[in-house]
């Protein structure tokens, strides 16, 4: 028997999740506005001195991105779990790992990518220079996929579990530490004139590692959750 085409299946999952998100835009927008609001609160909390704001900008933007991604993790599998679609995916002739990868890519397109595109506007509030803004965007573009990949494992593990929403943050946030360090570090290194290349390459290395192990661990976790 001819096996199903994997790239076609991958594309189909991504298209499906994007289509579903288009029909229900508020989910995506909520995450984005959360990001904007959290970042905008910081100057109100620490005061408007530009020098100070410039210094904390990378950390603030990255921590806010971390939290926003985490908020959106719940919708990654929960709806599909509730209406039985996840069961059908687990029984598909297409390997579950491929479908999961598709869902994670769609999740990134709907959370990480918009965050990265929005970040420079918010960076302006913190008086970041154009060069630093570019580094910020690049670091988010490389780093946020890692957040989606690791987050998917946490979301799969807490699927249908009591207090899953809060629990997922407990599981996932400690694992986000390296991404936070090197993501925010890249922008900081650029601010201090050290150059961000080393940080960005390490982030890319994390991405490669997460892309390799993440879908596999998520698949195992999903099968456990469905049993």
């Amino acid at each position: 028997m001819d096996g199903p085409s994997l790239p076609a299946a991958l594309g189909a999952v991504i298209r499906r999740d994007l289509l579903l998100a288009m029909r229900r835009k508020s989910d995506v927008l909520t995450t984005l506005f959360f990001f904007i609001i959290v970042v905008s609160l910081f100057p109100l909390g620490v005061g408007p001195e530009m020098a100070m704001l410039r210094q904390i900008a990378p950390g603030v933007l990255w921590v806010a991105a971390l939290l926003a991604t985490m908020l959106s993790l719940n919708r990654l599998f929960a709806a599909d779990h509730a209406d039985g679609t996840l069961e059908q995916m687990a029984l598909s002739a297409v390997p579950l790992g491929v479908l999961v990868t598709g869902k994670v890519i769609a999740h990134w397109l709907l959370s990480g990518l918009p965050l990265a595109l929005l970040a420079p506007v918010l960076g302006l509030q913190f008086d970041l220079a154009a060069g630093s803004l570019a580094v910020l965007v690049v670091s988010l573009l490389i780093g946020t996929p890692v957040l989606s990949l690791i987050g998917a494992v946490g979301a799969a593990l807490t699927l249908g579990v009591r207090g899953g929403g809060v629990l997922v943050s407990l599981l996932v946030l400690p694992l986000y530490v390296p991404v936070l360090i090197f993501g925010a570090g890249a922008v900081e290194a650029d601010l201090t004139g050290l150059g961000a290349t080393a940080h960005l390459s390490l982030l890319a290395a994390f991405l490669a590692l997460a892309a390799f192990f993440g879908p596999w661990a998520t698949t195992v976790a999903l099968r456990i959750a469905l049993e």
């Binding site: 009591r162 629990l167 407990l170 390296p178 360090i181 994390f206 192990f213 976790a221 049993e227």
Partner: protein, 249 residues
């Protein structure tokens, strides 16, 4: 070959392991006391007062072994987790969940004693030292593991989900440690490190070693006791549990 595998799996059955663990526990307690008393004696009475740090440094006899154990226990936990996922043995999952609280306790002890030491040394309870920071994150990982397991009602699913989390964690620990270290050197320059004292006296090393052994024995004894409790809880409807003397009386 086949024979040997069967033998191993025999010990992996809760029914055979339960009495075996019961017999081992007193021995490990005895060893804990022995090593602990010897280690504390050396630590408090034999080891010389440190020229720079005074008497306060003696807390490392608790701090360092606790840090070692906290990291080591996570590895052991991940090992059991992998075994449980791979071979579907019930005991492995129980072992992993029995180890987690002890690991968390060790991480907590390490943080607490680190803070206690930091106050006289640096005049502050907390420094963002690379080791302390990684220890803190390790503590979070333990808490996550325990929280996940206690949130899942079905023990089989709890074991498996915990196993996946432990394995993801164990891949991440070196990365986290390395990142925190990099972050630390960038931000603090030459940082003060808890364990890198100029030259450790021979007696201090001995004291530390004995204390580490005591911590080992304690961890084994406590985990075995906990695993026995877990076995009783999960197998409470099995025939062999009802026949146990301590259950009948």
């Amino acid at each position: 070959m086949n024979n040997r595998i069967i033998n191993w799996f025999k010990f992996a059955s809760p029914q055979t392991f339960y009495p075996l663990a019961g017999k081992m526990i007193p021995w490990f307690w005895a060893l804990t006391a022995l090593f602990g008393i010897a280690g504390l004696y050396i630590g408090f009475f034999v080891a010389p007062t440190d020229a720079q740090q005074g008497e306060g440094y003696r807390i490392i006899f608790i701090h360092v072994p606790a840090s070692w154990m906290s990291m080591f226990i996570y590895l052991v936990m991940a090992f059991w987790a992998a075994l449980g996922l791979g071979f579907n043995t019930r005991l492995s999952g129980m072992m992993a969940s029995a180890l987690a609280p002890t690991g968390a306790l060790m991480a907590f002890l390490s943080l607490w004693t680190g803070a206690l030491w930091g106050k006289p040394m640096w005049g502050t309870w907390w420094v963002w030292d690379a080791r302390l920071t990684s220890e803190l994150i390790l503590f979070f990982l333990y808490i996550g593991f325990i929280a996940l397991q206690s949130a899942i009602d079905d023990p089989r699913r709890a074991d498996k989900a915990g196993a996946v989390l432990a394995l993801v964690g164990v891949v991440n620990i070196p990365i986290i440690y390395f990142s925190v270290k990099w972050w630390n050197t960038l931000h603090q320059g030459a940082s003060v490190s808890l364990t890198r004292s100029p030259s450790m006296a021979q007696t201090m090393l001995w004291g530390m070693l004995l204390m580490a052994l005591a911590f080992w024995m304690y961890s084994i004894a406590v985990s075995l006791a906990r695993v026995r409790a877990i076995i009783l809880e999960r197998e409470r409807h099995a025939g062999w549990v009802a026949d146990l003397e301590e259950v009948r009386s």
